[in-house]
C-alpha cells in the first residue's frame, strides 16, 4: 500500500477539525472573525465537574386523573342544577369513577342522556338501586386514563421549564425520562433549596369562601359539613421566625382557580413596606370575581395555594376590573417565587422528588483539577514506559495515543457530549488501553524480525496479522461500552460515551495513523534495523 497521501490528508483533516472544535474550550475570548459556521460551544461539563443540582422527579399522574374526575363531578353538579335535575350527591369514587346518587329512575334516564352527550369518552356502568336511591357510575377507561396521565407529564414538563426560565438558570436541562419521570439539571445554581421549592410547588391557586357558621377552633375533619374542609393559615413572624397556624373552615368548592389568571407580579406595599403579589384575571375570571365579590360583601374570602391559606381578607366591596392581590407574611424572595409559579401556571399533578444530587462549585473545581492531574500523570507514565520499552516505535505509539486524546476531545466537543468525572477516568483508562493495539503489532513485528524478515516485510506482516485480533478485541470492548451507554444515566452515561468513542477512534489511530508514519519513514529512510 504505497499511496499514503490520502491517509495523511485524512489525519490532518481530523487534527484540524479537532482543534477547531476545541478552540472555544481552550481560548477565553474568541477572536472577532470567529463566526458563522465555526463552533462556539465549550465542552459541556457534567454537574459533578461544575457544581449544580440534578433532580429526578416523578409526576404523580394518578392524581391528575383524580383531579380531572373531580372537575367532571363539579361540572356535572353545575349542569344538573342548571337543568333543574335533582340529585343527592355527585363525587369521585376511588381512582377511576364518578358516582351520581339520584332520587328516582326518571331523572336517571335524563341524566344518562346528558352524560352521553357531554362525556362520550366515559364508560357508563349499569344503574343500580341502593337504599332507596338510584346510583349511576361513570368510569374512565385504562386508555383514556393513560392519555390524561401522559398529557399531565407533558404539561408538567412545560410548566417546570417555564418556571426555570423565569427563575433564570443558564443552560438548564429539562427532559422526560420514562413514563412518569422528569429529569432537571441546573448547572452552577447558587441556591438549590429555593430552586427545588420553586420547581416542586404544585401552585394550585384557589379562591374559596370561608364558612363562618362553623367554629374553626373546635372543628375536626369528622364533624365538618360535607361540602366544607378544614385548612390552615400559616404565618411566620418576621422577627422571631416562629410559625403560627390558624385553622379556617372553607367551602370545598373553589369559586375561582389559578387557570383564570393572566399575570402575577411582585409589588411592594408602600405603606407597610411589605411585598405582595398583584394578580390579573382574564375576562372570565374578572367577570366571576366581580359577581362573587358583589354577592359576598362582608364575608371572608380565602386565598388557597396548595391547600395552604395565604390570606383570608374580608370582602369590603365589589371588586371589578379583574385585578386583586395576595398578601401574606412573605419575604421579598418568597413573593417573587410565588409570582413566578402563578405566572408559569400550576402543575397538573403534584411531583415527588426521587433523586436530588447537589454538588457545590468548589468540589466541582477540585474534581476537574484532580482528574486532569491524574490524567497528566497517567499519560506521562505510559509515555515513558513505551519509549523505554519500544524506543522509537514506542514514540510512534505515543504519538498515536496523543492523537487519540486529541480526536476524542474534539469528537466530544463536536457531538456536544457532556464531560463528567468518570468520563475523564475513561479517558485516562483509554490512555493505558490505547497503546494495546500498537503493542500487539509491535510484538508481531518482533516475532517476524526474529524469523529474519526485512524491516519493511516484518512491518507489513505485523500489521496484517494483528489486524483481526485488534478488530475482535475492539468489538468486544464496544459491546460492553454500548450496554453501559444504554442503561447508564448521568455520570455513567458520560463514562460510556467517552469509552465507546475512544474505542472507535483508537481503531483508526492504531490501524491507519501509526501505520502511515511507519510507511513514510521506511520509504524515505533506508533502515537496516527497525527500532522495536
Amino acid at each position: 500500500m504505497k499511496g499514503y497521501t490520502w491517509r495523511i490528508s485524512l489525519i490532518l483533516i481530523f487534527i484540524i477539525a479537532s482543534c477547531v472544535y476545541l478552540t472555544p474550550t481552550l481560548v477565553d475570548t474568541l477572536p472577532k472573525w470567529w463566526s458563522g459556521l465555526l463552533p462556539k460551544d465549550k465542552i459541556h461539563l457534567g454537574l459533578d465537574l461544575q457544581g449544580g443540582t440534578h433532580l429526578v422527579m416523578e409526576v404523580e399522574t394518578q392524581k391528575a386523573v383524580e383531579g380531572s374526575l373531580d372537575l367532571i363531578a363539579t361540572d356535572l353538579e353545575d349542569s344538573l342544577t342548571a337543568q333543574n335535575l335533582r340529585f343527592k350527591k355527585i363525587g369521585r369514587l376511588g381512582g377511576d369513577k364518578v358516582q351520581l346518587t339520584l332520587y328516582d329512575r326518571g331523572s336517571a334516564d335524563k341524566v344518562q342522556a346528558l352524560i352521553k352527550k357531554k362525556y362520550p369518552d366515559l364508560e357508563a356502568l349499569p344503574v343500580f338501586d341502593e337504599g332507596g336511591f338510584v346510583n349511576m357510575q361513570l368510569r374512565i377507561n385504562e386508555k383514556e386514563a393513560q392519555v390524561r396521565k401522559d398529557r399531565a407529564v407533558a404539561q408538567a414538563l412545560e410548566t417546570i421549564r417555564n418556571r426555570i426560565d423565569q427563575f433564570g438558570v443558564s443552560e438548564p436541562v429539562i427532559q422526560r425520562e420514562g413514563l412518569n419521570n422528569i429529569v432537571v439539571q441546573l448547572p452552577g445554581i447558587k441556591d438549590p433549596k429555593r430552586a427545588i421549592e420553586l420547581i416542586g410547588k404544585t401552585a394550585r391557586l384557589e379562591f374559596k369562601l370561608v364558612d363562618e357558621t362553623v367554629n374553626a377552633a373546635t372543628a375536626t375533619a369528622g364533624s365538618l359539613p360535607e361540602d366544607d374542609e378544614l385548612l390552615f393559615e400559616k404565618r411566620t413572624d418576621p422577627q422571631t421566625g416562629a410559625v403560627s397556624e390558624t385553622p379556617l373552615v372553607v367551602k370545598k368548592k373553589a369559586i375561582i382557580t389559578g387557570e383564570l389568571l393572566t399575570d402575577a407580579q411582585i409589588r411592594i406595599d408602600s405603606q407597610y413596606n411589605q411585598p405582595y403579589v398583584a394578580i390579573e384575571f382574564n375576562s372570565t375570571g374578572a367577570r366571576l370575581f366581580d359577581q362573587v365579590t358583589a354577592a359576598n360583601v362582608g364575608k371572608r374570602f380565602a386565598i388557597v395555594l396548595d391547600s395552604n391559606i395565604y390570606s383570608a381578607p374580608v370582602i369590603r366591596e365589589r371588586i371589578s376590573g379583574g385585578s386583586a392581590q395576595i398578601s401574606g407574611s412573605f419575604t421579598e424572595k418568597e413573593a417573587a417565587d410565588l409570582a413566578i409559579v402563578l405566572r408559569a401556571g400550576s402543575l397538573p399533578a403534584p411531583v415527588k422528588i426521587l433523586q436530588n444530587v447537589t454538588v457545590g462549585p468548589s468540589l466541582g473545581r477540585d474534581s476537574i483539577h484532580k482528574g486532569l492531574m491524574a490524567g497528566l500523570i497517567g499519560v506521562l507514565l505510559v509515555v515513558s514506559f513505551m519509549a523505554m520499552y519500544y524506543k522509537l516505535s514506542g514514540m510512534v505509539a505515543n504519538l498515536g495515543m496523543v492523537l487519540n486524546i486529541l480526536f476524542l476531545m474534539g469528537a466530544l466537543s463536536a457531538l456536544g457530549a457532556t464531560l463528567t468525572l468518570p468520563g475523564i477516568a475513561a479517558i485516562v483508562l483509554l490512555v493505558g488501553m490505547s497503546v494495546d493495539s500498537n503493542v500487539l503489532i509491535f510484538e508481531r513485528i518482533r516475532e517476524e524480525l526474529r524469523l529474519g524478515k526485512t524491516p519493511h516485510a516484518a512491518l507489513d506482516a505485523g500489521y496484517d496479522k494483528a489486524f483481526l485480533t485488534i478488530m475482535d478485541s475492539h468489538v468486544t470492548a464496544l459491546i460492553t461500552a454500548a450496554v453501559l451507554f444504554q442503561f447508564g444515566t448521568g455520570p455513567v452515561k458520560g463514562f460510556a460515551v467517552s469509552l465507546s468513542l475512544g474505542i472507535i477512534i483508537n481503531l483508526f489511530t492504531s490501524l491507519v495513523a501509526t501505520k502511515v508514519l511507519f510507511d513514510a519513514f521506511l520509504d524515505r529512510v533506508h533502515v537496516k534495523r527497525l527500532s522495536v
Partner: protein, 302 residues
C-alpha cells in the same frame, strides 16, 4: 528492551492451583452477590436509597461531636467517614433513617455552633430509584454477557465463547469478592468499573484466543494442550505490557484522581490485575480441557 525472552511455561499444567484459587475467589464473590441481593453488603445509597453528604468544616470536627449533634436531632443510624485532608466528612444515611440533607445541615448548625461548614455535595435518593437501578443493572450485565457469547461464538466457536464468559464472570466475581471482603461500598460507579473491566478482560482473552486459533490452523497434529500453552506463551509479553500500561493509568487515577472516584479507581486497579490473571489462567485452560475431553471421547468412540 525486552522484559520477557521467549518463554515456555506450562500454564495449563498449573490449573490445579489456579482453579483452586479462582474457585475460592468465585465463591467469596458469590457470597458477596448474595449479600448484595439481601442488602447486607455495604451498599451505596444509589441502590438502597437514602441521603449522603460531603461536608467541609472550617475547623477540625471530631466524628464523635458530629454524631452527638446528629443523635440530638434524632438521627441515630448514620455512617460517618472522615475524608483525608481538609476537615471533610462523609455522612451517609440509609432510607430507614432517612433525614434530608437540609435537616442534617440544620442539626449540625445547632449541634456544633461556632464551627462553620459548607455542604460540598449532597445526594438524596428515593427507594424506588434504587429498585429500578438494581433491575437495570442486572439487565445490563446479562445483556453484555449475552452479546459477548454471541460475538465470540460467531467469530470462534461456542466453546471459546463459554470460556471467555467464564473468565469474565470470574473477574466480575473476584472484584465483588475484594470489595465485599474489604467492606468497600457497592454503588453505581463500582458497577460501571466492573462492566469496564469485563470489556477489558475480554480484550485480553480474545487476543489469546486469536493466537490459539491461528496456531490450531498451523499445526493440526499437535495435542491441544501444547497448542494452548504455546499460544499463551507467545502472547504473554503483549498481555503483560498492556496490563502494565493500563495498570499505570488506573493507579494514577487511584492516587491522584481525588476522593470522588477513589473507590471507582480502586475497582479498576483490582480489575486490571484480575483480568490479566484470568486471561492466562482461567479462559484458555477451560477451553483446552473441554477440547481435550471432546477429542478423547471422540477417539474412544472410534
Amino acid at each position: 528492551m525486552e522484559l520477557l525472552k521467549k518463554t515456555n511455561i506450562d500454564f495449563i499444567g498449573m490449573r490445579k492451583f489456579s482453579f483452586l484459587a479462582s474457585g475460592l475467589m468465585a465463591i467469596i464473590g458469590l457470597i458477596g452477590i448474595i449479600a448484595i441481593a439481601r442488602g447486607t453488603a455495604n451498599m451505596g445509597i444509589d441502590f438502597s436509597g437514602g441521603t449522603e453528604m460531603q461536608i467541609k468544616f472550617a475547623q477540625a470536627a471530631t466524628t464523635q461531636s458530629i454524631r452527638d449533634a446528629l443523635v440530638k436531632a434524632g438521627v441515630k443510624e448514620v455512617e460517618l467517614q472522615e475524608i483525608t485532608g481538609g476537615n471533610q466528612v462523609l455522612v451517609k444515611m440509609h432510607k430507614s433513617t432517612g433525614k434530608s440533607a437540609d435537616q442534617v445541615a440544620d442539626a449540625l448548625k445547632a449541634g456544633i455552633p461556632g464551627n462553620t461548614f459548607t455542604v460540598e455535595s449532597s445526594t438524596e435518593i428515593g427507594p424506588s430509584i434504587g429498585e429500578k437501578l438494581k433491575q437495570d443493572t442486572l439487565v445490563a450485565v446479562a445483556l453484555s454477557m449475552l452479546g459477548i457469547i454471541l460475538y465470540i461464538a460467531w467469530r470462534f466457536d461456542f466453546k471459546f465463547g463459554v470460556g471467555a464468559v467464564v473468565a469474565t464472570m470470574h473477574d466480575v466475581l473476584a472484584m465483588i469478592a475484594v470489595f465485599y471482603v474489604m467492606h468497600r461500598e457497592v454503588n453505581i460507579l463500582f458497577i460501571t468499573a466492573v462492566l469496564t473491566i469485563a470489556g477489558y478482560s475480554l480484550t485480553d482473552t480474545v487476543v489469546v484466543f486469536d493466537r490459539i486459533r491461528e496456531n490450531m490452523h498451523k499445526s493440526l497434529k499437535d495435542p491441544m494442550i501444547t497448542i494452548f500453552n504455546k499460544s499463551i506463551n507467545e502472547t504473554l509479553s503483549r498481555t503483560i505490557i498492556t496490563s502494565v500500561t493500563t495498570f499505570l493509568a488506573a493507579v494514577s487515577l487511584f492516587l491522584f484522581g481525588g476522593e470522588v472516584i477513589h473507590d471507582f479507581a480502586f475497582a479498576l486497579v483490582v480489575g486490571v490485575v484480575v483480568a490479566t490473571y484470568s486471561s492466562i489462567f482461567v479462559a484458555s485452560p477451560i477451553v483446552a480441557l473441554w477440547e481435550k475431553h471432546a477429542v478423547e471421547t471422540k477417539a474412544e468412540a472410534v
